[in-house]
Every structure is written in C-alpha cells, then in structure tokens.
C-alpha cells in the first residue's frame, strides 16, 4: 500500500484529492491530512508518507516554507496550486510535479501514475528536484530537464540553443553536451521568455547571448558560438535584431 498525505488549508481542496484517490487509486491510502504549514510539519515529522499533495498558498505560509522546515524529507511531492504565477514558474523550472485547481481528473491520474513509476526506479530517497526548487526559488538560474535517466539540472545561462525533435526538445549546452528532453519546445520558449532567449524558428529556440553573427537573408540565419548555423524565420528577424542591439 502506498501512503499519502494531503496538506491544504481548504476543506474542499483536501476533499477533492481524497475522493480522486479513492476513485482512481485503490492501492493508495491516505494516512493523514493537515490544514496549515504548522500542522503539516507536525504531521510529516511523525508519519512517513510516500506521496504528499501540497498546497502552495496557505494561511500561515507557503508549501515551500513547509518543505524548508523538513530538510530530511524522503517523500515525493505533488504541488497543488490555483493561480500563483511565481510559484508555478519555480515549480516548472525544477521539473517538479504539480496540479492546477480545479484539478482535472485526467491530469490527476497522469501525475500520480508518474510518481508511482518513480518509486519503481532505483532513486535516492531524497528528491533532488525539491532541493533545487528551494535553492533556486529567487534566481531561476537552473532548469531541471526530464530525460530518460531522470532529471538533469543545467544552468540556463549554459544553454546555447534548443531544437525541436518531434514532440521532444534537444538542449545543446555550451560545453557541447546534447540533452534530449521529453517536453515541447514551446514549454521552454515560455519558461525562458524573460531570459534573452528567442524562438527564431518553429524548430529553434536560441540563447541570444551565444549569437556570434547574423547572416542577412530573407529571414537570414545566425551563427552561434558553437559554430552551428540556425535558420531564422522571416517574421522573427526584426525581433531578433532588436534583441541583439
């Protein structure tokens, strides 16, 4: 039996998760619930759940505060949030698991299934993504990339460019390393929107700080510092040139 805990300061929030769990996952048992950061810390220091459903905004603090108070944690976290752009950005950067309220049942099943498969993999007891999330929360300097072998954290500033490969994205780093990631290019276009990255082409997202030169043409192309030539879409030419000035 997999053990779960639910921490949310609203009754309805906890209720929905509990109902969904009993509806879709007969192998998961809710061993405890809490309605604040304080009572949550108390619960989690007594009990050892495998999964914690954690609300971000609570009356006496945030879900992040709660995690900071539990440095020895060994559980997996699924964040649950309504409309907190900042927290959501931090969660996406660390590639942590999350659900949006109101919770979509399909999304719920997907997220819990994913965590369950993580249990089957031989992984360290402590979730590195949460550590990264907590240290990174104000800087957004690192991004967690979900790969076949787990999450790999890279510095955003080391990313030279990203290429679309079907529904996947290939990251090319400054040291020449290539990382295949199971998320779309659009995901990263949105995450890096304020980081001097530009989607110059339907298949390419580039870090403009690594542009060596621009070659004129209909849309033209850019040569990156790693020597790669990247085609630029005609409609992105002006935006690119503006950004480079």
């Amino acid at each position: 039996m997999i053990k779960a805990a639910i921490i949310d300061d609203e009754d309805s929030g906890r209720n929905v998760i509990r109902q969904y769990l009993s509806l879709y996952f007969t192998d998961i048992e809710v061993i405890g619930e809490a309605s604040s950061v304080k009572s949550g810390v108390k619960l989690l220091s007594k009990q050892t759940p495998d999964i914690v459903f954690l609300d971000i905004q609570m009356q006496d603090g945030t879900g992040f505060n709660l995690l900071e108070l539990l440095p020895q944690r060994s559980f997996k976290v699924i964040f649950v949030t309504s409309f907190d752009q900042f927290a959501l950005k931090a969660i996406k950067y660390s590639a942590a698991d999350y659900l949006l309220k109101p919770v979509d049942p399909d999304m719920f099943v997907d997220a819990v299934e994913k965590v369950k498969t993580d249990f089957e993999k031989p992984a360290p007891a402590k979730d590195a993504r949460i550590d990264e999330l907590l240290t990174n929360i104000n800087s957004f300097s690192k991004i967690g990339l979900p790969t076949n072998d787990g999450i790999q954290f890279v510095k955003v500033d080391d990313v030279v460019r990203c290429e679309a490969d079907g529904a996947y994205t290939v990251f090319i780093l400054e040291n020449g390393q290539r990382i295949m990631v199971s998320k779309s290019l659009k995901t990263y276009e949105e995450l890096f929107a304020d980081r001097k990255f530009l989607r110059v082409h339907k298949s390419y997202l580039i870090n403009t700080r690594y542009v060596e030169k621009y070659i004129n043409g209909d849309g033209g192309s850019v040569v990156m510092t790693d020597g790669a030539t990247v085609e630029v879409s005609r409609r992105k030419k002006d935006e690119l040139l503006n950004m480079m000035l």
């Binding site: 409309f83 949006l100 309220k101 919770v103 979509d104 049942p105 659009k186 989607r199 992105k236």
Partner: protein
C-alpha cells in the same frame, strides 16, 4: 594627450614567459572558467601513480591557463609540492610556477609578494644559465618596482636585463626593452632620458635592418620630442615623417602594424599643428589636416575611443588655428557623446573641458568659459588624486597650487568680462535695447509653440492610455452569457448526479479561464495559443448543447503556428455568433463549424469561420418572433477592437460576412472571413 603605450610593449616582452590572461573574473559561484574543458582534461590526465614530474607539469599548466587568480595560485603551489627533487626539468617547472605566482600577485596589486617570487625564478634561471628568461624576469622585477614607485630599482633592473640581452645578442628583445624604458621615462615626463633610450632602440633597429622597429622608434622619438621642447619641433617632424614613410612602404596590413602606423599619423598631425601655431604658417596646418583625417578615420573604424578623441582634438586645434571657433565648438559638441564611454576616465574629461574652455574664451563667451574652466580644474584634481604615481602629499601641494591658479584664472577672466560689459554699456546701448526687444518677441513666440506642443502631447498620451486600458478590458471580456451559462451547466450536471461530467466540464472551463486571464495581459499571442483556447471554448459549447454540432480547426501547412502572433480573443466572438444564431436554431442534420487558417501572400493570415446554420436572414426572423432584442456583446466588442487595432498605423484588419446559398437561393450557412495582417 600624453598617452602611454607601455602596455603594448610589455605585452611583447611577456610572450616568452608564462602569461596569464585575466578577464574581469567575476567571482562567486556563477563564474565559469572559459578554459574549464582544457583544465579538466589536464587534471584528468593526472593519475595517482603518475610520476611527480607529470603531476608538477600538469598542475602548472592548469595554473597558467585558468582565468581565476585563486585557482591559479592554488595549482601553482600544488605543482611546487611535486618539484622537490633537483634535476633540470623540475627546475624549469619550478621557475615557471614562481613566475605564475608572481604574476597573480602583481595582478592583485601585491607587488612586494610578486617581487619575492620573481627573484626566486631569476635565481633558478641564473643557475641553469637561461639568460634570456633571466632577462625577461628582470624586466618583470622592474615593472614591479614601477608599481611600487621605487624608480631607482626600476632602472637598475632594466639595465641589468639589457646588459644580459646585449651579452646574448637578442636584438629584437633589446629594442623592446629600450623602448619600454623610454616609455617609462616618458610617463615621468623625463623626456631627455626617454629620447636617449629611444635613440638606443633606434640604433639597434638600424643595425639589424629591422625596418618596422625602425619605424616604431622614429615614431616614439618624434612623439617625445614634439612634447619635449618647442626648439625640437623640426627634428620631431623629421623623425615622424621618416616613421610614416617606413610604415607606408614596409608596413603590413596586420592590425598591430596598422595601429602603429596610425599612431605615427596622429603624432605627426600633432607635431604639424604645433609647428603651425609656433610659426603661424598655414602650410603646416594644412599638412596636419591630411594626417589627422587618416588617423581619425582609422580610429573610428576600429572603435578606439581614446585615440579617436585625440585625433579629433588635433582637428579642433587646426580649426582654432584658422580662427574657425564656431566650427571648433560644433566639433567639440559632436565629441561629447564619446565622453560617456566606459574607458574614458577623468583625464579624458580634463582635456575635453580644457578645449571647451579655450574655444569659449575665443568666442568671447566668458560665462561658459568660466564654467568649463571650473570643470577642467575639477577633473584635473580628480585625476591627480587618482594617480598612483603621486603620493598624497604631492597631490595636496599640487591641489593648493591649482586652487591658486584657478583663482588667478577666475580673477583675470572676471576682469576681462567686466571690461567687455563696460564697452557694451557705453558704445552700443541702443543696439542692446533692439536686441532685447527682438529676443523678448522671439521668446514669446517660442513659449507659445512650446505650450501648444506640450498640451497636444499630453492629450495624445492620455488618449493612448485610455485606448490601452480599454483594449485590455476588451481582451479580458468573455461574454458573461457564456460564463454564467457554463456555470449553469455544471449545476445541471450535479443535479443530475453526473459528477464525472461535471468534473470534466469544470476542468476545461478553468483551463479556458486561465488562458483568457493570461492572454489579457499581453497584446499579442501566438496563433497556437489562440487556437488552443478556441478549441477549449468549442468543446465547452459542444458539451453544453448536448453535442448538437461538431467542429474542425484546420491550419494549412505554410502557417507557422508557434511563430505567428495574433490579437487574443479576436476570432472567438464570431464562433460564438455562429453557434448562437446559426446552429442553435438548426433543425435538420448535424451542425458543423469549420475554422480554417491560411496565409495570404505571406503578409496576412486569413481566417475563415464557416457554419452550416440557418443563415443570417432566418436568424433575424427567429429573433424577431421570439421578441428578443439580443444584441451580441461579443460582436460589439469585436467591432470596437477592430476599430482600435486599425487606428494604429499599418494594421488593416478586415472582416467580411458572406451568406452562403445554393442555386435555388436556400440558405446554406454563413461564412466570416477575417484578414489579420502579420508583422
């Protein structure tokens, strides 16, 4: 304008010793060494069982190529740990390490520590009889002493190095060393000693028939002489002409040759204008003009701000010579923008303000002349305070001296200004009155236009702001009918105990609301985002109307959905219209909405919304029978938005509604065509 070219020459000498390049190594965790991969491969090559010499050599290489001073020190000391045994190979590595350590300390302004290590390496080179490296180390010792301002030692070690070099007859190195020494004297304004050393460098260049070094030496010699004394100006010009000729005939197109050639052009121009001022002869001024042009163009093209400014100042001198003061002023005003560049320090301002002061005095504008003289003194003092060659005491003495001279200048200028005023008052009083009157009228006219312009400007700003607020409100607007009807549907699902459907419907509704909220914060969204929200909307409406209709969204291949942007929520109201007025009243067969997007001539998107509903005419009839005077909010909002978007330049959105009929005139549906220009 006394510019040091010392770093250039020192760099040449450094090449035979380990040389570290330190960019502004930003410290802290974000710093990544640009040579990290090379460092890693060197460190990986060290195995626990590697011989000490390999460890010593690899660590030493790491210390040399890293860009971080701490890392460099760490590895050179580590390398020294493996240099304990005494045989010649390790001796060399040890000396190499000492030099790296010394350089790191030198960079950190810890020249005393640097000296200790330079002496250690010099001792080793002496032991292994490597005269060349020993001499190079002595030059570094000299440079450390220069940093510590112990001049006697500077010259002692330079001479020692030069003697060694003469012994081993390394001519190229000797020339560099003499030029370097000349440069040091030059920077101390000891011009006689400077020319003496340049002359020696020149002798060696002539002896070795090294044309380019000869050209450089003539250039340094000429530059120094032209500053040294007015009596040497002819000799200075002669040397600089020789230098220029040599560079022009023998110089390559490589950047360092070009740099030196243009430095010679600039020096020659400066010498010519000095000669012109001394003699009043126009031919010299005209010669100056030719060379100053060449130098300025070059410095502009390579982006060398300081040298560019110096050559333009020379041109200002030329203009002053021809008494073209307003042109000189205009030229100075043009140069102002270069003042803000980072590498332009206090002494740059000092020279600049001095020129402004001079030109304003010539123009008789004493108020500005005073102002810029004040600024000139201010920067001059700042420069003196910054200068490391002067002790604080020296600076204070100089400061007091300058304050005196400032006061003196003020006094003379004030007296001159008073004198001018008297002249004006007595001789041209009537003219003053006329001028004042004209000025008053002019000011009045200018004020009037200024007032009008600001008022218009403010009005424009307000109007734009109102427009933007309105627009963002419009973007947020989702037809309230839709929102409440959707909530009603949820209620219905709950009452009919259809929890599953309620949950699914609600999730989609929330997702759509989230997208609309996000989109309302921006003016444009990608087409793919817009189509995603449309499809969510259509799913919800479909569920709400019991799957009475189906829909398809087709995007033709040439459209790059993720790249093209459109105003958010522009298409949705037309779809809402098609459902409510076209499909809801349809009684025969299944309803169908097709949204198709294609590109038109690569500069606009064409969006067609086709429904197979009852048509506009029948819809109007139904509405009339029901007695409902429903005015679509969405359509009104969209019309307003189209109007607003079109009030911007270049944006010409258009919207055409066609009634589809068969040959017999029966309604087949409605087609809306929206053309959205793409930027």
């Amino acid at each position: 304008m006394k510019k040091l070219f010392l770093p250039l020459i020192i760099a040449v000498i450094l090449q035979i010793l380990p040389q570290l390049t330190f960019p502004q190594a930003s410290e802290g965790e974000n710093f990544v060494d640009p040579n990290q991969s090379r460092i890693d491969s060197l460190l990986n090559a060290i195995k626990p069982d590697s011989p000490d010499s390999v460890k010593a050599w690899n660590y030493s290489r790491v210390a040399n190529i890293t860009c971080d001073l701490d890392t460099s020190l760490k590895y050179s000391f580590l390398s020294l740990d493996y240099c304990n045994e005494t045989y010649s190979e390790l001796d060399n590595i040890r000396a190499y390490n000492y030099n790296i350590i010394a350089f790191a300390y030198y960079m950190r302004d810890e020249s005393r520590k640097a000296l200790q290590y330079r002496f250690k390496s010099a001792a080793i080179y002496n032991k292994v009889s490597d005269k060349r490296r020993e001499a190079a180390t002595f030059i570094h010792v000299g440079n450390c002493y220069l940093d510590l301002n112990i001049k006697d030692s500077v010259f002692y070690y330079y001479n020692k190095a030069i003697l060694t070099l003469i012994e081993i007859q390394d001519t190229a190195f000797i020339i560099d060393a003499y030029n370097n020494l000349g440069q040091i004297y030059y920077s101390m304004a000891l011009y006689d000693n400077a020319t003496e050393n340049y002359q020696k460098a020149l002798d060696y260049s002539v002896a070795s028939k090294d044309m380019l070094n000869m050209a450089s030496c003539y250039c340094y010699l000429g530059t120094t002489m032209s500053f040294q004394s007015d009596t040497l100006i002819d000799l200075a010009i002669a040397n600089l002409v020789k230098s220029v000729n040599l560079f022009e005939t023998k110089g390559s197109l490589r950047h360092y040759d070009l740099e030196k050639k243009h430095f010679a052009y600039m020096s020659l121009a400066q010498a010519y204008i000095k000669k012109a001022k001394l003699t009043g002869a126009k031919t010299y001024a005209d010669s100056c003009r030719i060379f100053v042009e060449k130098a300025a163009n070059y410095y502009k093209s390579v982006g060398s701000v300081n040298n560019y400014l110096n050559s333009r100042y020379c041109y200002v001198d030329y203009l002053i010579f021809y008494k073209r003061y307003s042109d000189a002023l205009a030229e100075l005003m043009n140069l102002e923008k270069y003042m803000q560049t980072e590498d332009h320090l206090v002494n740059g301002y000092q020279v600049y303000y001095n020129y402004l002061y001079e030109v304003y005095s010539h123009l008789g504008d004493y108020k500005n002349a005073l102002k810029y003289h004040e600024k000139y003194m201010e920067y001059k003092m700042a420069y003196v305070n910054d200068s490391t060659l002067n002790t604080i005491k020296d600076a204070e003495v100089e400061r007091a001296h300058m304050l005196d001279s400032v006061n003196h200048h003020y006094e003379t200028l004030r007296i001159e200004a008073e004198h001018q005023n008297e002249l004006l008052q007595t001789k041209v009083r009537t003219r003053v009155i006329t001028i004042v009157a004209i000025l008053l009228i002019l000011v009045g006219v200018i004020m009037f236009f200024f007032y009008k312009a600001t008022k218009e400007n403010e009005e424009n700003k307000l109007r734009n702001k109102a427009l933007e607020t309105e627009r963002s409100l419009l973007r947020t607007q989702m037809n309230p009918h839709f929102i409440f009807n959707a909530l009603n549907s949820v209620q219905n699902y709950i009452i009919s105990n259809n929890a599953q459907e309620a949950v699914r419907f609600l999730s989609k509704f929330a997702k759509l609301m989230r997208m609309i909220l996000n989109n309302s914060m921006v003016q444009m969204v990608t087409l793919s985002d817009e189509l995603q929200s449309l499809s969510l909307y259509l799913d919800l409406e479909r569920a709400r109307f019991g799957n009475k209709f189906s829909y398809s969204i087709d995007v033709s291949d040439e459209v790059e959905e993720d790249i093209v942007s459109v105003p958010p929520m522009l298409i949705q109201p037309f779809i809402e219209n098609a459902i409510i007025h076209g499909l809801m009243h349809k009684t025969d067969g299944e309803g169908l909405i097709t949204v198709s997007i294609s590109e038109n001539d690569r500069d606009s998107l064409v969006c067609r919304i086709t429904d197979n509903g009852i048509g506009r005419k029948a819809a109007a009839e139904v509405e009339k029978n029901v007695g409902r005077k429903h005015k679509s909010v969405g359509m009104q909002l969209t019309r307003d938005r189209l109007r607003d978007l079109n009030s911007e330049a270049n944006a010409k959105l258009s919207c055409v509604i066609d009634d589809l009929e068969d040959e017999a005139g029966h309604a087949l549906g409605t087609r809306v065509t929206i053309v959205i220009p793409m930027v």
